[in-house]
Amino acid sequence: MSCLQTLSEYGLRSLGHGPRLLPRGDITLCDQIVLIGSGMIWNIYFAVLALTLGFFLATALALAKNSKNRLLRAPATGFIFVFRGSPLFIQFFLAYEAFVLLPRAGIEIDLLFVQITAETRWLTRAAAGALIVLFLNTSAYSAEIFYGALRSVPRGDLEAADAYGMSGFSRFRKIVWPTMMRLAWPSYTNEAIFLFHATTLVFFSGFPAWQQKGDALYYARYFADQTFNPFIPYPIAGAYFILFTLILIMIFGKINNHLNRHLAREQRIKMKLSTRFYRRNAVPSLR
């Protein structure tokens, strides 16, 4: 079987297209590269959606944590504490068990005239359930980063905004928010990288890979178990992750340049890979 044929057969196997049986017995290098690559679709799906949705919740949480109102501050602080203080792995298990316990038939909601049946089954599927956990988790980590950046917006900027008569939402949108993003961006890039890496946990933590539709690491482990040779599948998975991590860094670097474009060259925040790990305000957000 040629490699192109393998690609057309197994390329979308992780989404359920293609043969039901995974290759076994004679497993070629091509099989491994194609299937593990097919699994990457899930990793990218989780990372992109969780980060995009999480960005908005994180901004809201950071503002709430910075609020003077206790009713806003306390829940936000608690939420961030719980999700940052406990392992993502346990959160996955906990969420899965909670989703399983929801009534199978769905919850019936009476809305005076109409009756809505909220389907709950889909929550036990990784595509939705795990996404919710990842979304909440990254929101908490990002919120802490944004909160730190929010606290270090220069006072002069705020005074200038006051002097121009800006207040409320326009002050936030035009002055506070851009600076907050600019300060938070290097740490947020870190967070994005580690969230992307954390997506590999999904199919090992309660959420079943239904019909063997799994992510890159799920297939890598399948091959390692089948061939009893870990030296091929895991490096392949590693190479895929390095590739997509570099792409992610490139995209975030472009955004960073955009955020810093108004500053003189020496004032710009530069993103450098190696030293970014140590920063007094940077929080390595591996889970």
């Binding site: 406990s86 906990l94 954390a198 590999t200 390095i242 570099l246 790990f277 140590y278 390595p284 889970r287």
Partner: protein
């Protein structure tokens, strides 16, 4: 109430000890590996420097979970491979036959006849190595950053006084670096705590394993006198981890004020002013 004191449950409680043991073993090993890694990055020998750079940067591109899965199997096969070469030199067949990894019976490690606990301890040891390897790389990143943060003119002063490279490293750089490294190390400690449930993936009977076993309403052999309690068992684990991270954060805050003493930083300055 008596139900929570069965023999099975005592194993659940013991598994918290496994988590603590892993932390106690991994932390110093990772510190040592990290220190070596950071030293390698500053080496004058180009090859050593490259090794240091690869070691520290690979954890940024590859998910840690891949290492956790790869290292124990690779290490286990490596050990058996070496034992096979030593113990059965007259076996000429290749070790990798198709999809099998065949070593002679004497080279199996631990031996097939070994007790259950030997196998479990061996599994745990391999897991510890995997954790130390990954976290060593993170520590190396942090320590490397901290070494760069020590003011360069202090090192130059050392050289000007006629100290050798080695003396400058050990007497000036290393003692000062800790204060810069501490915030990063404290973060890593928290991350290490949060990584311990991954032991479950490596087949160690840890807290997650027992929470699943005991919480389920039945296993293959027994039927427990309750419904599906897994949610509550995981709730207990969640609280356990929250307490661990919360407690260690307090300890580290204390340590960092302690380390700031006599440092030319803002925190050190505050320390002086508080005394005066």
């Amino acid at each position: 109430m008596c139900y929570l004191t069965t023999v099975k449950h005592s194993m659940f409680y013991w598994s918290f000890g496994i988590v603590l043991a892993l932390l106690a073993l991994t932390a110093p090993a990772a510190l040592l590996l990290g220190f070596l890694g950071a030293m390698a990055k500053r080496s004058q020998v180009a090859v050593v420097r490259w090794i240091g750079s690869i070691y520290t940067s690979m954890v940024r591109g590859i998910p840690d979970i891949i290492f956790f899965m790869f290292v124990p199997i690779a290490l286990g096969q490596g050990i058996e491979y070496v034992r096979h070469k030593i113990k059965c030199p007259d076996v000429t067949e290749p070790i990798r036959q198709g999809n099998d990894f065949v070593v002679c019976a004497a080279a199996k490690f631990p031996l097939g006849s070994a007790d259950q606990w030997v196998h479990q301890t061996y599994g745990f040891a391999l897991a510890t190595v995997a954790f130390a390897f990954v976290f060593g790389a993170f520590v190396a990143n942090t320590i490397d950053g901290a070494m760069r943060a020590v003011p360069a003119n202090q090192l130059e002063t050392g050289h000007a006084y006629g100290m050798t490279r080695r003396q400058v490293f050990w007497r000036i750089l290393v003692p000062q670096m800790w204060s810069y490294a501490l915030p990063g190390l404290s973060n890593l400690w928290q991350i290490l705590i949060k990584a311990t449930p991954l032991l479950f993936l490596l087949g160690v009977q840890d807290v997650v394993y027992w929470a699943r076993e005991l919480g389920g309403s039945k296993t293959s052999r027994y039927e427990y006198p309750h419904g599906d309690w897994r949610l509550w068992y995981f709730m207990v684990l969640l609280v356990f981890y929250l307490l661990m991270t919360w407690g260690s954060e307090k300890v580290f805050r204390r340590l960092s004020t302690r380390f700031a003493r006599g440092q030319a930083t803002q925190a050190g300055q505050q320390h002086l002013e508080a005394k005066a």
